[in-house]
């Protein structure tokens, strides 16, 4: 669906307003039901036994004592989840991650599970399961895992993407390369070159709601799953495949979701809960503890990145190169590849080369986290860009403006850009009052840019018009941050009715056709396209019904401002029919009125952001304080600007946490030391200032209203923006994220001592 020129400069009626969300009252009164808030009669409590070892062969599991404990109704191991993946390597990894088979591959890897009448019995049963482990050497650090002689995690993995097929297995599952031009030649033209190595530690999405589900497998082969997820249709496919069920017999209902950020795009506990329920013949509720969430669910990659950028005296970048190593957990991934694609996406480069290495380590399987892989690459690149600007004696913003990608630029990942927003966000940042505000003692200002692709995907939507003229909109993309409000606005806009007449809900997998996940910033982008299409289909029927009522040709009926209007002077005496009137008469004009839509919402617009921040550093302790923060980002079109601001602010806050304090800390024994919110330090309210936002609207040519995705890009610039600010405040270049106080103090001391 292309941009509808009718909307250029047009005043929208509903889109762009800020009404209260349809699910709001339930959420402020405690009535909204999340993953753990649903229960079934006779339900059992499921609990998972997890490996305490980072790497161990499972020689045997004896569940007999647990099975004999009164109140225990089922105990399962990998044997109860046999391999039905049929050679699909990605699905096998998901299965093995849900329940370890021959080896436990990280601290927290599930090895068995129980269902019992209550939590206490389930906990006791776990203690009675005897696992015979043969402890193996482990590796958790990305650089160490790549070294010769590092403990090998999977001897069936041979590095893909090498010129010659390797003869020995490796912890590097893949090498990828992107770029164009000749970087060697480019560096030859450079007057200044900056070359640096960076490291970033592994972080977690940190959603406040732990994974939770209720599984109910019936003896007739059908099953229900209630679950907090970003994609219930995808969960259905995966669970059905892993359990050997027909997808149509598994009905998955997505609960309200208490945060996902990419971390709820992957099944963990759900196949286990279904297998427990199947074995016990009763419903099973499985809720992860916070400790389990950190140890066993979706962290992002830890990385090690080398960057080299060269420029001429006039400030033109002549060449840019990066080598990116990303951990993927103990399974193959494509995270470094995304880093390699996004690293230099903001710039217009004649010579660019990026190489990515996917590295297996004994850590949890890496899952997507908001613009996955892009923040780390941006941290390395934007730090080096800042440093290069300093060497050139150029202003950091001017240097970026001079080299910014624009329409027609060949992107560093290959294709040529259409209309894009990097230039405008930089210009807006340059003109922002924040840039000119005075700084206090020990304070520094930093800025950085970020890029994310944004995705669309398969989408299906139903729009039903009630006899009272109200509209219910059933969508299949899970609402993670207010999309029911924005989609209701879109339906109201198209139909020409008031927002209050529309109510959007998220339908279950048996009530609507397949939908891809809410990921890739696609929720509002994709479902609004499907909603527009469904509304237009409904309007066609509304016009037909009006034509029938008036007994005139349907081509003479137009739809305007929520009314059918007979066009032409000959119909001068026909009063317009409102949607409500047509709906009320629908029983006599052909029955219910609905619009349906199923489509692939491709063509999401790439998105850029520029962030500015001020940081104060205590030079005696390395402590930091965020003084001021500003986000400038292109939204294409902001459907519900308040929730767009919310996405900008939330992404920035997550990035701030990542930049300053969040990290997985592993002991020498390979065990995670900080599997809780006490020592995995996400920002608290008093850590942050207000986060100012500026929404730019550069229409996406592939969406009728110009919408781009907005959810992810905001987490890309903060790591670099803060690193640049800290470096400016403390006078030292910070190359290791998070910039925790001990790291900052050590850097300051090292600089002092020269």
């Amino acid at each position: 669906m292309n941009f509808d020129p009718r909307f250029s400069g047009r005043q929208f009626k509903s889109v762009g307003t800020r009404p209260i969300r349809p699910d709001g009252v339930d959420k402020v009164t405690g009535r909204a039901r999340y993953g753990a808030d649903f229960s079934m009669a006779g339900q059992l409590v499921g609990r998972v036994l997890r490996s305490p070892h980072a790497h161990a062969r499972i020689r045997g599991i004896d569940t007999s004592k647990a099975e004999q404990l009164p109140g225990v109704k089922a105990v399962i191991t990998a044997a109860d989840l046999p391999d039905l993946t049929n050679g699909d390597a990605a699905m096998f990894d998901i299965l093995d991650n849900c329940m370890a088979r021959t080896k436990a591959l990280y601290d927290g890897h599930a090895v068995a599970a129980v269902a019992a009448v209550d939590a206490r019995t389930a906990r006791q049963a776990l203690k009675l399961i005897e696992v015979d482990y043969e402890i193996l050497p482990h590796v958790t650090d990305v650089d160490e895992a790549m070294q010769h002689g590092a403990p090998l995690i999977n001897d069936a993995i041979f590095t893909e993407g090498l010129e010659e097929k390797p003869v020995k297995p490796s912890n590097v599952s893949k090498r990828t390369q992107y770029g164009h031009g000749d970087v060697h030649e480019g560096f030859g033209q450079a007057d200044f070159i900056v070359e640096r190595s960076f490291k970033t530690e592994q972080t977690h999405q940190g959603y406040i709601e732990p994974h939770a589900c209720v599984a109910n497998v019936s003896s007739d082969g059908t099953a229900d799953l209630w679950v907090c997820t970003q994609g219930h249709f995808v969960y259905r496919q995966h669970c059905a495949q892993l359990l050997g069920m027909e997808a149509s017999k598994l009905r998955v209902t997505s609960s309200e979701i208490g945060g996902g950020f990419g971390g709820k795009t992957h099944v963990w506990a759900e196949p286990v809960a279904l297998a427990l329920s199947r074995k016990a013949g009763r419903p099973v509720k499985l809720v992860m503890t916070r400790d389990e969430v950190f140890r066993a669910s979706g962290p992002t990659s830890a990385t090690s990145i080398d960057v080299k950028i060269g420029a001429r005296k006039d400030g033109t970048i002549t060449a840019a190169e990066a080598t990116l190593r990303y951990t993927s957990g103990p399974y193959a991934g494509m995270w470094a590849e995304i880093g390699a694609m996004t690293a230099f996406a903001c710039y217009r480069l004649d010579n660019v080369k990026t190489v990515g290495y996917e590295v297996l380590v004994n850590r949890p399987k890496t899952a997507a986290y908001r613009a996955p892989s892009a923040p780390m690459a941006a941290f390395a690149v934007e730090s080096a860009v800042d440093e290069l600007a300093k060497e050139l004696g150029m202003d950091a913003v001017e240097f970026r403006i001079k080299n910014a990608a624009q329409e027609g630029t060949r992107s560093s990942y290959g294709p040529v850009y259409g209309p894009i927003g990097i230039g405008p966000t930089l210009e807006a940042a340059k003109d922002h009052p924040h840039m000119k505000a005075p700084l206090g003692k020990n304070q520094g200002r930093g800025m950085a840019c970020g890029f994310w692709f944004n995705f669309g995907g398969q989408t299906c939507t139903d729009l039903n018009i009630g006899m009272d003229g109200s509209v219910s909109l059933a969508v299949g993309t899970v609402d993670v941050g207010g999309s029911r409000a924005s989609l209701s606005l879109v339906a109201a806009e198209e139909l020409g009715i008031d927002y209050s007449q529309v109510k959007a809900i998220v339908a279950d997998t048996s009530s609507l056709g397949y939908n891809d996940m809410t990921d890739g910033s696609r929720g509002t982008f994709s479902s609004s396209m499907a909603t527009i299409s469904a509304a237009r289909n409904a309007i066609k029927i509304l016009r037909e019904r009006a034509a029938q009522t008036w007994d005139i040709p349907v081509d003479d009926v137009v739809w305007e401002k929520g009314h059918a209007i007979a066009r032409g002077e000959k119909y001068g005496n026909l009063a317009a029919l409102s949607l409500k009137e047509i709906a009320a008469a629908s029983g006599k004009t052909g029955g219910p009125i609905a619009g349906h839509s199923e489509l692939v919402a491709d063509g999401a617009g790439v998105s850029f952001a520029t962030h500015i921040c001020d940081i104060e550093v205590d030079p005696e302790t390395g402590s930091t304080r965020v003084i001021r923060y500003t986000v400038v980002q292109d939204a294409g079109k902001a459907v519900h600007p308040t929730y767009v601001e919310g996405q900008y602010q939330g992404g920035a806050a997550q990035g701030i946490g990542w930049a300053l304090n969040e990290e997985y800390i592993y002991g020498k024994d390979g065990r995670l030391q900080n599997a809780g919110f006490l020592d995995y330090r996400i920002p608290v309210c008093s850590d942050l200032p207000m986060i100012d936002t500026q929404i730019l609207e550069i229409p996406n040519p592939n969406h009728p209203y110009g919408v781009r995705g907005v959810g992810e890009t905001s987490i890309v610039p903060p790591l670099a923006a803060i690193a640049n600010a800290v470096s400016n405040a403390a006078g030292v270049r910070m190359t290791h994220i998070p910039m925790s106080p001990p790291r900052i103090l050590a850097a300051i001391e090292a600089e002092r001592e020269g």
Partner: protein
């Protein structure tokens, strides 16, 4: 005839080529002919290949037409958060 640029991993499968010329009107035909010429592509196509047409990325719209002279770029299918 459209000129299609391959990304590194795919290029290796095509004997080190970075660009191939294919007579195809839409993405479906492009994939079909690529699989004919380069059987090693087939598992990649099954897993999912994204096609950038003049900068816009298409992941599943196989009916998308390939305009004459358009810049066609094959990319791996990526995940988001």
């Amino acid at each position: 005839m459209v000129e299609v640029t391959l990304w590194g991993a795919l290029g290796q499968l095509a004997g080190g080529k970075t660009k191939v010329e294919i007579e195809a009107k839409d993405i479906r035909e492009l994939f079909r002919k690529l699989a004919e010429q380069y059987p090693a592509f087939e598992p990649w196509i099954d897993k999912g290949i994204a096609v950038a047409i003049d900068g816009t990325i298409y992941r599943d719209t196989w009916s998308k037409e390939l305009p004459q002279g358009a810049e066609i770029f094959l990319l791996p299918r990526l995940a988001g958060g």
